[in-house]
Structure formats: structure tokens, C-alpha cells
């Protein structure tokens, strides 16, 4: 087992991701961030809190989205759906999808499909904490990335949110 990000590194990485979003969008009211259930919402919760801290009183919208019903492996195994909560329109907004680990890209493919049920966004970007390079099965890349790593398919990357660290094993 190897630690990829420890508690301190995780904290500054999340801060950096929040600052990168602000750098890109001077007007946060045109931005909505959407955490992907189940594991992406830990990161999106933290980024949302960070954005509120950096610019108090900003009107950025925050939602959570479940992609279970859009998965392409439904015939292999059923997964339990999680809660979706998007109580605003994403029409003409800049949507930032947030997930913890980008691996095959299939979750993001499903998320892009799921997103269309809520309107037509102006633009969709992807923010991930860990980008596992050279393991993509679809042409999907992150726009904001906490850390890029090289790993074997047999290895697993896990973000331990309770211990606040990212490990490879």
C-alpha cells in the first residue's frame, strides 16, 4: 500500500482545485457544480465549502447526481441507486462535474448522458481528484485534476475520506 496524497496534501489539492475554478470563471453565478454519486460528493462537498470560504456570499449552485440508471453494465450487475438532488436549471450554465477518481471514463460517459435530462448546459467540464492515466476506455479527459498517477490495472486507488488520504494498493 502506498500513500498518494496525505492529509495535508489532500487539503492543499482541494484548495488549488477551488482556486482553479475561480481563475477560470470570474462570474461564479454562471457555474454549477455537480458531484457524482456516491463517491464524488465527498470531494464536491469540500470544493463547494472551499468556494464559499474563498468568496463568501457567492451564488454558485451545487447539486448531486446519481448515474446508476445510465450505466452501460446494467446486464452484468445491478447497483443500488443513490439520491439525485438538482433543484435548479442547468440550461446555459457552465457545469463542472466532480468525481474522486477518473479511471475507465465510463462513469463520466454515463454522467454526461444523465446530465442531459436536466437541460442543455453551455459547457461541461470535468474535475477529478485523481486521474489514473493510460487506463481510459473512452475518450474522456479531466479539465481540473488534483493529481495524475500511473498505476496498473490490478491496482486499486481509494480515497479514504474518513482518514483524509488517498492510497494505492
Amino acid at each position: 500500500m502506498k500513500t498518494i496524497l496525505d492529509k495535508y496534501q489532500l487539503q492543499i489539492t482541494i484548495e488549488r482545485l477551488a482556486y482553479q475554478l475561480i481563475e477560470n470563471y470570474s462570474d461564479l453565478s454562471s457555474v454549477v457544480i455537480i458531484g457524482i454519486q456516491p463517491r464524488g460528493i465527498f470531494l464536491s462537498d469540500k470544493i463547494f465549502a472551499q468556494l464559499k470560504k474563498i468568496i463568501p456570499g457567492n451564488t454558485i449552485e451545487y447539486g448531486k447526481m446519481d448515474i446508476t440508471f445510465y450505466r452501460d453494465d446494467i446486464r452484468k450487475e445491478l447497483h443500488s441507486p443513490n439520491q439525485t438532488n438538482i433543484s435548479f436549471s442547468i440550461e446555459d450554465k457552465n457545469v463542472v462535474l466532480i468525481d474522486d477518481v477518473l479511471y475507465t471514463g465510463r462513469t463520466i460517459r454515463a454522467a454526461l448522458d444523465a446530465l442531459l435530462a436536466f437541460g442543455r448546459p453551455k459547457k461541461v467540464e470535468l474535475c477529478v481528484l485523481i486521474n489514473r492515466r493510460y487506463s481510459r476506455q473512452l475518450p474522456i479527459q479531466p479539465d481540473y485534476c488534483g493529481k495524475a498517477i500511473d498505476s496498473l490495472i490490478s491496482q486499486k486507488v481509494k480515497v479514504e475520506w474518513d482518514k483524509e488520504e488517498v492510497v494505492l494498493y
Binding site: F69, Q83, F118
Partner: protein, 310 residues
């Protein structure tokens, strides 16, 4: 995450974990139904036939909508106007439909046990949409979902089923489900419409006085008088039934507490329930219908995985 059964023939065969899985999945489908685009692609590889050998409005529309919201292809079959009138048997009809590559069957039939018979003979997943006086599992599931939504939980809730217990498949499915979920169950109605040994068979209360029953309960599920299934005179007139067992506003006001009123529909206004009660804010009849689509989506979604897709 799986149901313990391949078909949904009745609540009798389900375990509590199955019921909980269906209800929690339905919660997520209910959210899908609030979206601007109320459709998910989960069952786009699935073809479902709705076989209705008996009349239906709500259940049939609800199933069809649930199937469409899941992107399944649907076929509708009603016995009237089909080759059933030329003498084709149930098994022949279904086998002919299945040979056109249909994956799931939703069936309503006036004979109790018809879906169980079918399940023994065909490979497709079968969902019982009401069989005779036996069970109507999706109705009980949506009733449970609606009670849970309104009251928070089923455990410990006092639920009374009022009316034609003898001929109601909704009653039997509700009794099985409520008992499994830990609710307290009572049936109320005229003695001629309550099976003699029901109390002992299911460990439930029986009450012949409607006012006492309503005083006791938190939730009252008022059932339709199933005149089409009664082949003998079980009460003297509809008017007399209404006077003794109709849920009226006056009666509800006299019990000094706010109970939740359910009715599976179709409502016979002025017989088992009065209009002012059916349309009051105590009644969640229309919420039941709304929740029905979400619950049926959950059932279809969870059973679709049991097919052999290769």
C-alpha cells in the same frame, strides 16, 4: 443488490429485504419523474408485454408509463378483441407472444393463480398486476410507499383495511406486506365480507364497527366493493352499506383525530367513501397514483436483471 425472486407473483413470496429494496429504489425513481426529461435508458434492451385479461385503468396506464419511462419497448394486449374469444388458451397466447422475443410479462387475470401457473411454464419474468381475489403486489407496494412517505415509517403504524376484504386482492397483498414491515393491521367491514378465519390466519385484528376501527388506526385503506366478484347477496343494498361502512366526513370528524385515507381506486363515490372525504386533504389517493409509476419502475428495473441476456 438483488431481489430474492425472479418474478413478482405476490407479496407472500417476498422477504422484508426485497420490499425495502423496492421501496428505496422507488424513491430514486420518484426523483427521476420530477426531472424536465422524465426518462432513463436502463431498459432500452427490454421488451415488455402487458397482458390484461381483466379491465383496468390505473394499473395498466401506470405500468405502461413506467415501462416507457425506463425506455422499454411495450406491447399491450387486452383479452377483449383478441384471439382469446376464438378459444386460444392462456399458455398458447403467451407462448406465441414470447416467440416474438418478449422479455417480461405484466399480467392481470381474473383467475387467482394465473401468473403462478404461467411462471411454471415460461422463461420470461412475470409481474402480477392482479390475479382474481389473490394478490395485487404492486398496489400493496405503492400503498406502503405512500404511507411511508406520509408517516415516515410503516413499523408500528396502525393500519385498517376497510370494506370488501373477502374479494379484494389489494387487501391480501396489503396484509402480507404490512405484517412483514412490522405494522399493526386490522380489517373492518361487514361480517359477510370478512373471511371467517382471517384473524387467526394472519394474526390481525377484526372489527365490525367502522367508528371503532377508525378510532384505533393511524391509516385507513378504504377498499372498493367488488360487486363483479360477488356471486351472492352479501349485503342488502349499496345505500345500506354506505350508511354502515361508508367513510363519511361526519364520521371522521367524530373520532377527533386526523387519520390518513388511502383508496386503491376506482372509487365508488357515495358507497365505500364519500366525495368530501375522497377529495379532502386527509386523502392521499392521487399521491398513491403518482407513486405507483415510481414503484412499478423500481419493480421492472430490479426484475429485468434476472433475464438471460447473452
Amino acid at each position: 443488490m438483488q431481489l430474492s425472486t425472479k418474478h413478482l407473483l405476490g407479496i407472500k413470496d417476498l422477504q422484508l429485504s426485497d420490499i425495502e429494496l423496492i421501496l428505496s429504489t422507488a424513491t430514486q425513481f420518484k426523483e427521476v419523474l420530477q426531472r424536465p426529461i422524465k426518462k432513463v435508458p436502463s431498459l432500452r434492451d427490454t421488451t415488455i408485454v402487458n397482458l390484461f385479461y381483466e379491465n383496468s385503468t390505473r394499473t395498466r396506464i401506470s405500468f405502461e408509463l413506467a415501462e416507457k419511462r425506463l425506455s422499454a419497448d411495450t406491447l399491450n394486449f387486452s383479452a377483449s378483441g383478441s384471439s382469446v374469444s376464438k378459444g386460444e388458451t392462456l399458455l398458447d397466447t403467451v407462448n406465441n407472444i414470447l416467440s416474438m422475443k418478449v422479455d417480461m410479462v405484466v399480467m392481470r387475470h381474473s383467475a387467482s393463480g394465473a401468473p403462478h401457473f404461467l411462471a411454471k411454464h415460461i422463461p420470461a419474468a412475470i409481474i402480477n398486476a392482479g390475479d382474481g381475489i389473490n394478490e395485487h403486489p404492486t398496489q400493496a407496494l405503492l400503498d406502503a410507499f405512500s404511507i411511508k412517505e406520509k408517516c415516515g415509517t410503516l413499523k408500528g403504524k396502525k393500519v385498517v383495511l376497510v370494506g370488501d376484504i373477502m374479494h379484494s386482492r389489494v387487501a391480501l397483498s396489503n396484509i402480507y406486506l404490512l405484517k412483514k414491515a412490522g405494522a399493526e393491521v386490522m380489517v373492518a367491514g361487514p361480517p359477510t365480507l370478512i373471511p371467517k378465519y382471517i384473524s387467526a390466519a394472519f394474526d390481525i385484528r377484526v372489527e365490525y364497527n367502522l367508528k371503532k376501527a377508525l378510532k384505533w388506526c393511524d391509516v385507513a385503506n378504504v377498499l372498493r366493493i367488488q360487486l363483479e366478484r360477488q356471486n351472492q347477496v352479501l349485503f342488502s343494498s349499496l345505500r345500506e352499506y354506505n350508511l354502515a361502512y361508508g367513510v363519511s366526513k361526519k364520521l371522521l370528524e367524530s373520532i377527533n383525530k386526523e387519520i390518513v385515507i388511502l383508496h386503491p381506486g376506482p372509487v365508488n363515490r357515495g358507497v365505500e367513501i364519500d366525495s368530501d372525504v375522497a377529495d379532502s386533504k386527509q386523502s392521499i389517493i392521487l399521491q398513491q397514483v403518482e407513486n405507483g409509476v415510481a414503484v412499478r419502475m423500481a419493480v421492472l428495473y430490479l426484475l429485468s436483471n434476472k433475464q438471460n441476456f447473452n
